[in-house]
């Protein structure tokens, strides 16, 4: 280290060192000349001989100077200065190159940021690497039980994979504490009616097991979080709310604990607030309210509900677990496979032996993968597309550089003939192109910020509470840096190699303007290849973009089978809002009558499920003697309608207690047609 220190102090006094060296070499020359003179040479001859013996003084000085200077660094500084001057001299070229690169790099960074937050980021909990997701896999879909078909997916590794388990299976995992330090689970409760100070709203609610927050290891933002003791039948009704909800409704997290709220008209006490960065175990569906799992006995007052805690055929808990230190997911899977298989076999004796599910324990650092499943494919596609855009930009700039290299041939030939090394010139040309790329990258960050906002909007697709926390972070910025350097090298290398290969003599003989003389520049072959690939890629992109736009406009103009003009829909749930069974039917009916009476509304209608929604369920009805399954009923008017008489007696009885949807439209009703849709 002393040598590095000495080098640094030398560097600080490099001017004096330089002077000293000059004097020292002067002394050497004088001494040498003295000796030659003593040998009988004349004054001049002696001096020349001494010089000859010493060789190139400048060279010696440069070689020695290396000891107190960081040559590469200083040359880089020179190159950067020169590059900046060249850029300033070619403003149009530089601006064009920087702009196209900024677009390319910006688009790539934006997509990467999204991928980073969706595919790569871990849950904001301590030690996410020790979290695992438990799921089951079967070779076929020969299965009974509730929730099994709907919640299993094709596994890329073959068979079907599902993440919902029966409560007894969850208990089984909990008992196996040799591999897990904690096992916790949750179940989505859907949108429940949350009332605070007389104001109601729909709040996404999640049932969480008592170990949920403890197992995830997150601290409360205020108050305390749900603990094991809160999750049992008969425990006081408690709830934890999300940070966003606490800000929206309680004026800050510190005000929330201790407040009482109504969830589906049942009193709950808010005991705490989840931290702001925590959006639930599945970042795709951030809940507003967490309630203990056993609170479902209160909220879903159904007779059979208590039995669901015992029923091995009813899958409803999504389990996660935290591994004990030193235990791997594979080890946990091996340890639990036997007990789980044994349990599954006895739980459903009707199953064929080969269809009995096996346990799969996967890394759970990223949480549950709803988002990943949904967005990974479009993101990879987008990444490929923007990668292509960047490569087009690179090819474009490489081409421009080639053209400029032809113009700079004389300059480079001059420098080569003055003794500049080829490597040195290539390095300088590369510095110029990397400089361009760095500027492009900096501007690209600005584009990326804007692009991320746009993409989030695009992916959210109208969902209000889309909480994809995509942002520029150091991951993304590293990528920008790497991309800038890489692209700079990429589009700079070929032109740099080309232009330094030029024959010095003919290039020097050319006129000052650098106009081509006789033989054509060798770079033209390369530039032709670049041009062709650029056009090919651009065409490909254009086709892809065209298809994309076409699909978008098709989606907008899709024929849904009814008149969508002037149609408004909304949903409400009378039972959640506190209406009780006998009055629910008149309530909905009054609502419809009142809506119909509003001036400007042509007709109003109710439906159990919306016309276009996530799914429907229905019961068969009979029209003119023919039975239709899965019918849904509403009046919309105009060209389409399915209509029934106004009197409440005609309302299908089996759906009177269900939440109803109300639609009112302005089409002119024309006779009665029937239509069946699913």
């Amino acid at each position: 280290m002393t040598s590095l220190f000495r080098k640094f102090t030398w560097w600080l006094q490099r001017r004096r060192k330089d002077e000293e060296l000059r004097e020292e070499l002067q002394f050497h020359l004088a001494n040498e000349a003295d000796e030659r003179r003593a040998d009988g040479l004349t004054e001049d001859q002696a001096r020349w001989a001494a010089h000859r013996e010493l060789g190139n003084v400048t060279r010696v000085r440069e070689d020695t100077r290396m000891l107190w200077s960081w040559v590469l660094l200083e040359q880089l500084a020179q190159d950067v200065r020169y590059g900046l001057r060249t850029m300033a001299a070619n403003k149009t070229f530089s601006a064009m190159a920087i702009l196209s690169l900024a677009l390319g790099i910006g688009a790539n960074t934006a997509i990467f940021s999204l991928m980073d937050s969706i595919l790569l980021r871990s849950l904001p909990v301590p030690d996410p690497q020790s979290l695992v997701i438990l799921s089951w896999r079967t070779p076929s879909r020969n299965m009974h039980g509730t929730n099994r078909h709907n919640n299993s997916f094709n596994d890329p590794n073959g068979g079907f994979i599902g993440g919902f388990f029966a409560y007894p299976a969850f208990e089984l995992f909990r008992k196996n504490d040799s591999v897990f330090s904690s096992v916790f689970g949750y179940q989505g409760a859907g949108d429940l009616n949350l009332t605070f100070r007389g104001q109601a709203e729909l709040a996404k609610t999640e049932y969480v097991s008592g170990d949920y927050f403890l197992g995830l290891g997150i601290p409360p933002a205020a108050g305390r979080l749900i603990a094991s003791d809160d999750d049992r039948a008969g425990a006081p009704a408690t709830a934890v709310i999300s940070f966003a909800l606490s800000q929206r409704r309680f004026g800050g997290p510190e005000n929330a604990p201790g407040q009482s709220i109504l969830i589906n008209n049942l009193p709950f006490t808010v005991i705490g607030v989840a931290p702001p960065e925590f959006l639930g175990a599945d970042p795709d569906r951030p809940p507003d309210v967490y309630v203990p799992m056993h609170a479902n006995l209160l909220l879903e007052a159904r007779d059979y509900l208590a039995e669901t805690y015992l029923d091995p055929m009813y899958d409803w808990v999504v389990p996660m677990a935290r591994l004990r230190p030193g235990v791997s997911a594979m080890q946990a899977q091996a340890a639990l496979a036997g007990p789980f298989h044994e349990w599954a076999r006895t739980a459903d004796p009707k199953r064929q032996p080969e269809d009995v599910p096996t346990l799969v324990v996967r890394e759970g650092a990223g949480g549950l993968d709803g988002l990943r499943r949904r967005y990974s494919k479009p993101l990879y596609l987008l990444l490929a597309l923007v990668g292509l855009i960047l490569s087009i930009a690179c090819a474009n700039i490489a081409n421009l550089l080639l053209a400029r290299a032809a113009a700079r041939r004389r300059e480079i030939a001059l420098r080569l003939s003055l003794g500049a090394g080829r490597l040195r010139i290539i390095r300088q040309l590369l510095t110029e192109s990397v400089l361009l790329a760095v500027f492009g990258g900096m501007l690209g960050v600005a584009f990326a910020v804007w692009g991320i906002r746009f993409l989030t909007l695009l992916l959210a697709n109208g969902r209000e509470n889309f909480t994809l926390g995509a942002e520029l972070n150091w991951h993304a910025l590293t990528v920008v840096g790497a991309l800038s350097l890489l692209t700079g090298m990429l589009f700079g290398l070929a032109p740099a190699l080309q232009s330094t290969r030029a024959d010095v003599v003919p290039a020097l003989k050319e006129s000052r303007t650098g106009e081509a003389s006789g033989r054509r520049f060798r770079g033209l072959g390369l530039s032709r290849i670049l041009m062709v690939s650029q056009i090919a890629f651009t065409l490909l992109m254009l086709v892809a973009a065209g298809l994309f736009v076409r699909t978008l406009s098709n989606l907008g103009a899709i024929q849904v089978g009814f008149n969508r003009e002037n149609l408004l829909t909304f949903q409400l749930n009378a039972r959640q809002a506190g209406h009780n069974d006998p009055e629910i039917v008149p309530f909905y009916n009054d609502l419809r009558t009142e809506f119909s009476a509003i001036p400007g509304i042509r007709s109003a209608s109710l439906s159990n499920h919306p016309v276009i929604g996530m799914g429907t369920s229905g019961t068969g009805i009979s029209v003119s003697g023919g039975a239709f399954n899965d019918s849904s009923i509403l009046t919309v008017g105009g060209r389409f309608l399915h209509h029934y008489a106004d009197s409440p007696a005609d309302w299908p009885r089996n759906r009177r207690a269900r939440p109803a949807r109300l639609a009112h439209g302005c089409g002119r009703e024309r006779g009665v047609r029937q239509k069946r849709f699913r």
Binding site: E24, F27, V60, L67
Partner: protein, 116 residues
């Protein structure tokens, strides 16, 4: 780096440092004198290229094996005199034993006992 034209005997890589240190053992000296001393002592078989002498001197100084100071030469001119440091002596000893071993090995291989 400087391209060395073939001299009477080309210096092996890394031996210049050793020669400089050895020369300085007999007392402080300036660059020109060091070069002359090596040349004379080797009976003019070795000629030190000035192009590599000065970088080598500064390199040795950077490593702390020699120290330099400006003094008046015997002719009354200012000259940069190099002295070997204790660290340099240690380095010289280890280099010398390495060189001895190398020379012995080369001698054994190039002149096998049965031939002599």
């Amino acid at each position: 780096m400087a391209q060395k034209p073939p001299s009477r005997v080309e210096l092996l890589r890394g031996t210049l440092d050793l020669l400089i240190l050895r020369t300085l053992l007999s007392g402080p000296s300036h660059g020109h004198a060091i070069a002359k001393h090596i040349q004379r002592t080797s009976e003019d078989l070795l000629q030190v290229e000035t192009g590599s002498l000065y970088p080598a001197l500064y390199r040795l100084e950077a490593k702390g094996w020699v120290a330099a100071s400006w003094e008046l030469s015997e002719k009354g001119k200012r000259a940069r005199y190099y002295r070997i440091t204790p660290q340099g002596r240690k380095q010289l000893a280890s280099e010398q034993s390495k060189w001895d071993a190398f020379a012995r090995a080369m001698g054994l291989l190039l002149k096998p006992a049965d031939e002599s």
